[in-house]
C-alpha cells in the first residue's frame, strides 16, 4: 500500500511538474522513482540572477511520509545556508517535513531562500562541516537558528 502510494504520488507529481512547471524550475532527469534532477534558475533581480543550479532529489519508498534527500550538485550556489558539498540547511527538508509537501514545494522553498539572500557568502562553519559531514544531509543533526534568511 505504501509502495503503491509512493509510485502513485511521484508519477502524479511528475506529470504535474511537466504540464505546469513553476517559473525557473525544470525536471531534467526522472527516469526512475529513486532519484530526479531539476534545474533551478536564479530569479531576476536577485544575487543569483542568470545563474543555473542543479538539484538532486532522492526518494525512499516511504515518501511522502518521509522527506526526500535534496542536495545541490555541480555548480553549488554560494549562500549562508548552503554548504560547498551541496547540503542545504532548510528545516522542511528535515524535521519540518510533512507529507503534504512535494518536490514542487521544496523547489519553491529553496528558490525563495536564494532570492531572499542579501550577502553571497558560504556558511561560517563550511570548512568544518564539509570535512565531517556524511554523504546524506539527512544524517546531519541540523539546528535551525537563523530562520529569517
Amino acid at each position: 500500500m505504501s509502495n503503491a502510494l509512493f509510485t502513485k504520488r511521484l508519477s502524479k507529481e511528475l506529470v504535474d511538474l511537466k504540464i505546469n512547471p513553476p517559473v525557473g524550475i525544470e525536471v531534467t532527469e526522472a527516469d526512475t522513482f529513486k532519484s530526479w534532477k531539476l534545474t533551478l534558475d536564479g530569479v531576476d533581480g536577485t544575487l543569483y540572477a542568470g545563474e543555473r543550479f542543479t538539484l538532486e532529489f532522492r526518494f525512499s519508498p516511504n515518501y511522502p511520509m518521509e522527506s526526500p534527500e535534496v542536495v545541490f550538485t555541480g555548480n553549488i550556489p554560494i549562500h549562508p545556508h548552503i554548504y560547498s558539498n551541496g547540503h542545504i540547511c532548510l528545516n522542511v527538508l528535515y524535521n519540518q517535513w510533512s507529507p503534504v509537501l512535494s518536490v514542487r514545494s521544496v523547489c519553491l522553498s529553496i528558490q525563495s531562500m536564494l532570492s531572499s539572500c542579501t550577502c553571497k557568502e558560504p556558511p561560517p562553519d563550511n570548512n568544518h562541516y564539509v570535512k565531517t559531514a556524511k554523504a546524506s544531509p539527512k544524517q546531519t543533526q541540523w539546528s535551525f537558528h537563523d530562520d529569517s534568511v
Binding site: M1, K12, P64, M65, E66, P99
Partner: protein, 414 residues
C-alpha cells in the same frame, strides 16, 4: 481494489483531494483537534512516521483522535464518475466510484480472473473464461470406468491404475489392472506355447510352465547349433535366389523390347519387297515415304518406256507387213526369172537344131513374151561367152538372187 489508482472522468474539486496522496479522498477521516481531512490510510501511515498533522504540524497523540468525515464529503467522493480500471483491456464502463467494486466483481468482462483449476494458473479475461474452462489443460475429467474425477493430463496414466478396469487372463483366469496385464501374459504359466525349436520340426505344444522340462528332453535341443547355422545359410541362399530372379526378370524385359524392335523393323522392310505393302502397310509407307516416292517415280518411268516400246512395235508390224509384201513381190520376180530362163533355154535348144521338147513350151513362150526387153539386154553377153560352161554359168547366175532375197528388190527400186 485500490481506489487511489482510480482514473476519474472529470477533474475533481480540490477540496475533495487528500494532500498526502493528492487524489480524491478514499475513506476520508477528520482529525478531531484541527479539523483537517485525509484518507484514512494516508493519515494512518503519516502518523507512523511523525505524530503531527501533515498540514499544520499540530500534535496528534493517537489514532483515536480522528472520526469519519461528514456524510456529504463521503457522498461527494463516492459519487465521483470513474472509468473502469480495465479500460485499457477494453472495458468502456463509466460509473460512480462507489459502484466500481460491484462492477469489477460482477459485471466487468475485462477483469482478469485466475483459472479455477489450480494447476493451470493462467489469468483469463472474464469474457474468455468459460471458453477457457472447456479447453483448459488442467480441467478435470471423469474416468469412464471408475467415475473418479482426474485431471486431463493424468487420465492416460490413470487408465493403467484404474481399480475398476480389471482384465482377466484368458489362460489362468486371474484378474489384474491393465498396467500389469501385458507383463502377466508374458509369464502366465497356463499360456499355451510351442517348443522353441518348432521351426526346425519339433511338434511339442503345452503349457508355458512345462516348457523348460520339455527343452531338457527335446531331441532338437542338442542340434540347435547345427540348425541355426543351416537356417542362416538357407536364408543367404534365398536372398541370392531372389536377386537372381530379379536379374532374369530384367533380362526378359530386355528381350521383349528387342523382339518388338525387330518385328517393327521387318514390317518396315516388307514395304520394299511386297508391292501390296505399299497400300496395305501404312506403317511401312509412313516409315519411309521418300523411298516410296522414288519407287513410284521409277514405276512411272517404266510405264513410259513400255508405252514407247508399244509404239515401236506398231512401227515394226507395219515394216513386217511391207516386208511380206516385198517377199511376195520377190517371189513373183523369181518366177518371172525362172520363166525367162526356161524360155531362153528353149530358144538356145531351138537355135542348135534340135526339136525342142514338147510339153511346157506353150506356157514358157507366153511368159517370155511378158518381159522380152529386159532379158534381151542381159542375155547377149552370156550367149557370146562360151557354149561349154553355160550350165554352170546359168546356175551361178541363179544363186545370188536366192541368198540376197530380201535385199535385191530394194536395190532394184533404188
Amino acid at each position: 481494489m485500490d481506489l487511489n489508482s482510480v482514473v476519474y472522468v472529470e477533474s475533481v474539486n480540490s477540496n475533495l483531494i487528500c494532500c498526502v496522496c493528492q487524489t480524491p479522498f478514499v475513506d476520508p477521516v477528520v482529525i478531531e483537534s484541527c479539523g483537517h481531512t485525509f484518507c484514512k490510510n494516508c493519515i494512518t501511515q503519516a502518523l507512523l512516521t511523525r505524530s503531527t498533522c501533515p498540514v499544520d504540524r499540530s500534535h496528534i497523540s493517537s489514532v483515536n483522535e480522528f472520526r469519519p468525515a461528514a456524510k456529504i464529503i463521503v457522498n461527494m467522493v463516492n459519487e465521483l464518475l470513474t472509468y473502469c480500471p480495465n479500460k485499457n483491456a477494453g472495458c468502456t464502463y463509466q460509473g460512480q466510484r462507489q459502484l466500481l467494486i460491484y462492477h469489477l466483481k460482477e459485471e466487468c468482462m475485462f477483469a482478469k480472473l485466475a483459472c479455477r483449476n489450480e494447476e493451470c494458473g493462467e489469468m483469463i479475461l472474464k469474457k474468455d473464461l468459460s471458453k477457457h474452462m472447456e479447453s483448459c489443460k488442467a480441467r478435470m475429467v471423469k474416468c469412464e470406468n471408475c467415475e473418479a474425477k482426474v485431471q486431463l493430463s493424468t487420465l492416460e496414466g490413470h487408465k493403467f491404475t484404474c481399480p475398476v478396469k480389471n482384465i482377466e487372463c484368458p489362460f489362468c483366469h486371474t484378474t489384474r489392472i491393465q498396467s500389469e496385464h501385458t507383463l502377466h501374459l508374458e509369464e502366465c504359466p497356463e499360456k499355451p506355447v510351442t517348443c522353441l525349436h518348432v521351426e526346425f520340426g519339433c511338434s511339442w505344444e503345452g503349457r508355458q510352465c512345462d516348457l523348460s522340462d520339455h527343452i531338457v528332453s527335446c531331441s532338437y535341443e542338442p542340434l540347435k547349433g547345427f540348425f541355426s547355422m543351416y537356417k542362416q545359410r538357407n536364408e543367404a541362399l534365398e536372398q541370392e535366389n531372389q536377386q537372381l530372379r530379379t536379374n532374369i526378370q530384367e533380362l526378359n524385359n530386355t528381350v521383349d523390347l528387342l523382339e518388338n524392335q525387330v518385328s517393327a523393323m521387318s514390317d518396315w522392310l516388307s514395304n520394299f519387297t511386297d508391292p501390296k505393302g505399299l497400300s496395305s502397310n501404312s506403317e511401312g509407307q509412313h516409315l519411309n515415304s521418300s523411298a516410296h516416292d522414288i519407287l513410284l517415280s521409277g514405276n512411272d518411268h517404266i510405264k513410259n518406256e513400255i508405252e514407247n516400246l508399244n509404239f515401236s512395235l506398231v512401227d515394226i508390224d507395219a515394216i513386217m507387213t511391207e516386208n511380206m509384201r516385198m517377199q511376195e513381190e520377190i517371189q513373183s520376180v523369181k518366177n518371172i526369172c525362172h520363166g525367162l530362163r526356161m524360155q531362153m533355154h528353149y530358144l538356145l535348144m531351138e537355135k542348135r537344131g534340135g526339136e525342142p521338147s514338147v510339153g511346157t513350151t506353150g506356157s514358157v513362150v507366153r511368159t517370155g513374151l511378158n518381159g522380152p526387153i529386159g532379158i534381151g539386154r542381159t542375155v547377149p553377153p552370156n550367149a557370146n561367152n562360151s557354149k561349154s560352161g553355160h550350165d554352170t554359168s546359168l546356175e551361178s547366175n541363179m544363186r545370188p538372187p536366192r541368198s540376197l532375197g530380201p535385199e535385191s528388190p530394194r536395190q532394184e527400186k533404188l
